[in-house]
Subunit: 339 residues, 2 copies
């Protein structure tokens, strides 16, 4: 009996940390403790092609040296292989299109290297589109932006809109022939504008367009964008899941924790947050930051992933619905896009 | 009945042309006409990482658009899949270590992108070792050179010594824990020093060390390094095969044509040869070149690959021996290295 028929797959649609150097055996063991069958990991935020190759190569070496715990997956079917061998499948992705260096051929090259997800832009504007801290009137670029989405569709690479602004989301959903994703984000109407990164959360209009295209959103307990911020309880999080399922339907909601090792290490996070908020394009932290935010105790790391299951059960979700939310929907979407 | 039990696999251990833009349907059709089941293609000669990514990505797109004829192979078993679907399997390789940019992590990154063969250096000295036109006393570098071979062994990437000098060949064979290859070259004792690129051919001492390590040499009809040069007949070529098999044993001899589309296009070849012989490191053609060399009529392109089979049969090679030479030995070596 395949595991997914019993408990269901557990897929985390986004975790970060390449630049913190924490893709290592300690993290891989946490994934196994949390029963995670698959994690989409970020290899680039503002990195160019060669810098990204270094991250990717270093991670492949880590995978090779810890092949009792993890395996790189290029197709959805390889998640099943990981389950059978009690390992966690890694899906490689970018949170920016910077590694492509405006070259369509590099989409195919990184696809060949196993990259299966690319977010169009990270917070700010680039040659493809605009991030969530830019003016919402600025959308997908007319030439490269549209060509890139066509090329990603053809190569079998998932378009991720998590850090894009409203218009870039809408434009990209329209331009794509295939379903797209918001791997980590929350519905703005439910969460409100009180959280630090409220611009990262999405309007109902964008979410409904996402669903019409067959896409999936990964809801996140990350304190900077979760309901009640750092005080978000498991119950409140599950209320958000229920609210979003009511809005979008059971087939379009998943989990994307946005987890990064280092939340609990203030020095590390100061440095990392500055890098994410400044890149190389600013001399100051241009995007507001209220400092370190403690993780919710019920989600202190990947080892706690099972708490989602318990919370959703308590909230009254059926076994089939829990399977869809905790992994089934991502598995279906990955299969559609990766081929 | 698998094809290799009937006729045997046909593997060409080296063809070039990325920079001539001739990885296209015309070439793929020639491969099918020649009954080629697998071709090792060169993606980089002096290119750096990003330039190589562009070549690799452009080729992947060509493969995607011609998937009725060709398929990218990462493992030896995928050559069988290609045979079953009547397509030609492409093995990706480099004729230099320039794409790694002295970073061990990039070995893993390009391995992840599907690169399975890398020649240590192309004609001249680099940070790894020395090419065949350098002083024969200069060998493998003590730090990066040895680390790189260890890393290639671990990642599953075949070390190719074709354009290395004598000492770099010996040092690398000694440093490698796994079998290595000379994908395209000839025995210097048989051919003599009269051909233009005589320094590309190898001494018996190196060839015997290669065999002790379990390696394979791909004999080449390329006129600049074949016996009798541009006047090499199929009979003379098969004499060389027989001579080399006598020296090294039937398990260690294969074919590597060094074919490049453009031999018959003087303008194209002038430009290409200048690039190969000058790189970015010389203002003049530092390595002797006697101008264009016509292809032997019996090997005017990949579509003629079947002539090797006929020539070897006429020369008295048994079916089993022909299978070993025309593909079986490369298949075995690829299986040992690629995993």
């Amino acid at each position: 009996v395949p595991k997914q028929d019993v408990r269901g797959l557990r897929i985390d649609a986004l975790e970060l940390s390449a630049e913190l150097g924490s893709w290592d055996r300690r993290r891989f063991l946490e994934w196994r403790q949390g029963g995670l069958d698959c994690v989409h990991v970020t290899l680039a935020v503002f990195e160019n092609a060669v810098e990204t190759l270094r991250n990717l190569g270093a991670l492949q070496r880590q995978i090779d040296e810890n092949r009792d715990l993890v395996v790189h997956a290029r197709r959805a079917g390889e998640i099943d292989t990981a389950v059978q061998s009690e390992r966690t499948a890694l899906i490689f992705g970018f949170q920016n299109t910077s590694p492509f260096e405006d070259s369509l051929d590099l989409v195919w090259a990184f696809h060949s290297a196993g990259v299966r997800v690319a977010q169009l832009t990270y917070n700010v504007q680039n040659s493809v589109g605009s991030g969530c801290w830019e003016d919402d009137a600025q959308g997908l670029s007319g030439y490269y932006g549209r060509s890139l989405i066509r090329e990603m569709n053809q190569a079998g690479m998932l378009v991720d809109l998590s850090h894009c602004n409203e218009r870039t989301c809408s434009d990209a959903i329209e331009a794509s022939d295939k379903p797209v994703a918001i791997t980590h984000g929350n519905p703005r109407e439910f969460v409100g504008d009180d959280v630090e990164l409220f611009r990262r959360n999405r309007s109902n209009r964008v979410l409904q367009a996402l669903v019409e295209k067959g896409g999936v959103i990964g809801l996140s307990p990350y304190p900077r964008l979760a309901p009640m911020g750092k005080d978000c309880t498991l119950e409140k999080f599950c209320d958000m899941v229920a609210w979003t399922v009511d809005l979008l339907g059971i087939d379009h909601v998943g989990i994307g924790t946005d987890f990064v090792r280092g939340y609990d290490e203030p020095g590390v996070m100061d440095t990392a947050i500055k890098r994410w908020r400044m890149g190389r394009w600013s001399r100051e932290v241009a995007i507001p930051s209220r400092g370190d935010v403690p993780l919710p105790t019920w989600m202190s790391g990947p080892a706690d992933f099972g708490n989602f299951e318990q919370g959703l059960e308590k909230r009254g979700f059926s076994p089939a619905d829990r399977q869809a939310i905790l992994g089934g929907n991502w598995y279906r979407l990955f299969g559609q896009i990766f081929g």
